[in-house]
Symmetry: C2
Subunit: 127 residues, 2 copies
């Protein structure tokens, strides 16, 4: 397991948007802004099981994401990792938790029955 | 050529960081925060010819990037595209131009001799 370097811990603790890069089945990349939370040594993302990103990670479990410090734009972390596992989340519990973390109302989403938790294990922290 | 949708024009005009997703030769994705400018129907990025991202796009010219509105985090654009061409930029002119656009000193960088301009043609704007 790769530990989060000390100098990046604040970027990972704060509710900052990350931009998740995945690879589509045809080999082209995709980039999407995402909520995340780091817990138990894993990065957690909420998603549904019917969207393109889900099909992407089923096909290619390696992902990457970057997080910029909004208070100092030249301070950022780039992470590469791999999907460790995916859990069904039919109550939308992770969505609700992330909604609270990011200043929202903490409610489960209308598409809760299709929600999944995507757990990513970091393999590289760059710069 | 795919035009920038009207509703995203401000995100592309403003000096916002974008997160560029590329695919590494081994098939894994990579995500990096980047400066950009949109000119003559192309998205322009400055880079050097010796870094990983350059090797990535030589191998796989398809890229993706996303831009978030810092004033309204749920407003964003996701773009997919392809590298149209790469130009040598040994005076670092694009770096200097982007430095000014992003509030810097507009000076050419020390690594100017290795600088290239990467021109990306958008193929899809999502959401």
């Amino acid at each position: 397991m790769v530990e989060v370097p000390e100098k990046y811990k604040d970027l990972i603790d704060r509710p900052l948007f990350t931009h998740l890069a995945t690879v589509r089945p045809d080999g082209a990349p995709q980039a999407n802004p995402m909520w995340f939370v780091y817990k138990d040594g894993l990065f957690w993302f909420t998603h549904t099981d019917f969207r393109q990103k889900y099909r992407n990670i089923e096909h290619e479990p390696r992902v990457a994401f970057s997080i910029v410090d909004p208070d100092s734009a030249y301070r950022y972390v780039e992470v590469r990792g791999v999907v460790d596992h995916i859990e069904k989340d039919p109550t939308g519990s992770l969505y609700a938790e992330l909604s609270s973390r990011y200043g929202g109302d903490g409610q489960a989403p209308p598409d809760a029955p299709s929600r999944v938790k995507i757990a990513v294990r970091a393999t590289h922290f760059s710069k």
